[in-house]
């Protein structure tokens, strides 16, 4: 069985090849994929998702360009030894605990889920302004 299985969100508006790129990066960051692991072949992916095989190859080329994977002709595409390191538990866990506390106090203050998401989105847009400038509304 392959280490990971791709999924598609047709309503996201994110191009299919980018969805695959994000999913591999995510899997590497959370150590679901480790260096040396083989990614599904184009054929395996298309028979799973009914997408164009060139889309898979395009995603793998992009990942290779960014140093996440390397391809060995005839053998497949593998996670690189020097792929950007997984998120360390020592970093991840305290962040998660702070977030839990924050959400806890928002709920205690009477905010519902949508209000929390809206608040987070505002904060994220301030923290990563370049994304917002592309699609969002200018303040």
């Amino acid at each position: 069985m392959a280490a990971i299985r791709f999924r598609l969100d047709p309503s996201s508006g994110v191009p299919t090849y980018l969805q695959l790129v994000h999913q591999v990066k995510h899997a590497v960051q959370y150590a679901m994929l480790k260096p040396g692991d083989r990614l599904p072949t184009a054929r395996e992916v298309v028979e799973d998702l009914a997408i164009n095989p060139n889309t898979v190859l395009k995603a793998y080329r992009e990942l290779e360009r960014e140093g996440f994977v390397y391809s060995r002709p005839g053998a497949g595409t593998f996670v690189a030894e020097d792929a950007p390191a997984p998120l360390a538990r020592t970093v991840h866990q305290p962040l998660r605990r702070s977030l839990d506390r924050l959400i806890g106090s928002a709920v205690a203050a009477g905010l519902d889920r949508d209000s929390v998401v809206a608040l987070m989105t505002l904060a994220l847009n301030d923290a990563f302004p370049e994304k917002e400038a592309v699609h969002g509304r200018r303040a």
Binding site: V46, H135, A139
Partner: protein
């Protein structure tokens, strides 16, 4: 990659009806191309001419460099075709259907065809009429694939299929593309499918190509701009307005080009392929009705 299908000024008249009106098209090989357009735009006529079923009234068409009307035998030995409604002899069994494929096609790969049918768990002795629509579609596709075609032409390959059968057929088709790499040209009105499998898109309207291009490039070059209706016509956006839709206080436009969001509440977002196709089709229909 070489051009697999090329037309210039291709025209087809049936009596007074003009199904194709000077259609110019050039499709590179090794791709999956989607032909989209309203019913009657000429998709089926184009595909039928490409396999030599119809003779053009005027203009030129080349498939793999050959004239499909004059060299129909040569074209058909290298081009697989599944017509609309996937016609098969309903009284024949699956085995007999494949046997016809074997006898009619010099390049037929019988072992491959049998393996495909076995893969779907289709009993060879079942008559075609007893198959489900999905199974019927798989047999029709196998009949086109058995000759190991360089080009595969499919007219509405997923029409009438239930969602599961539709996905299975597309998965199969993309598996074949991954394995053997034939060029595929398919017509479809299911834009979600076109978006999923096609890397090149041709929008046909009224027997002509309205716009064509790489699917990614089309998506990158179109945006949807929506904002207050008042002042919308003053906006200086950099591009061609394809379609405008007004609500009482709001205007939404499909734009080929770029636009910037502004502080009057105007939002800009990338268009989906579906919005692009529908935008062009609707814009042209409004043009006609004026």
């Amino acid at each position: 990659m070489d051009v697999v299908l090329e037309t210039s000024g291709l025209t087809k008249r049936y009596g007074r009806t003009e199904a194709l009106r000077g259609c110019d098209l050039s499709l590179a090989g090794g791709k999956v191309t989607g032909l989209v357009g309203p019913n009657g735009a000429g998709k089926t006529t184009l595909l039928n001419i490409a396999v030599g079923l119809h003779r053009p009234t005027a203009g030129r068409i080349r498939v793999l460099g050959l004239d499909p009307w004059r060299d129909a035998v040569a074209v058909l030995s290298r081009v697989g075709f599944v017509a609309q409604d996937r016609p098969l002899h309903r009284g024949f069994t699956v085995a007999e259907t494949l046997e016809i494929g074997r006898r009619l096609n010099p390049r037929w790969d019988h072992a491959y065809a049998l393996a495909r049918v076995k893969h779907f768990g289709l009993p060879l002795d079942r008559p075609v009429r007893s198959l489900s629509t999905g199974q019927h579609a798989q047999v029709a596709l196998t009949l086109a694939l058995g000759k190991r075609p360089e080009v595969l032409l499919l007219d509405e390959p997923v029409a009438n299929l239930d969602p599961v059968a539709r996905l299975e057929l597309l998965e199969e088709l993309m598996g074949v593309v991954a394995e053997d790499g034939p060029s595929v040209i398919l017509s479809s009105n299911v834009l979600a499918d076109v978006e999923r499998v096609c890397e090149y898109v041709v929008i046909l309207v009224d027997g002509r190509v309205r716009i064509s291009g790489d699917a990614d490039e089309l998506v990158r070059s179109h945006v949807v701009v929506s904002g207050p209706r008042r002042g919308a016509h003053d906006r200086a956006d950099d591009g061609e307005v394809i379609e405008v839709r007004h609500a009482e206080r709001q205007t939404t436009r499909l734009l080929r080009g770029r636009a910037a969001p502004s502080d009057d509440g105007t939002e800009v977002r990338p268009a989906t392929l579906e919005e692009i196709v529908v935008g062009y089709l609707r814009a042209d229909r409004e043009e006609v009705s004026k």
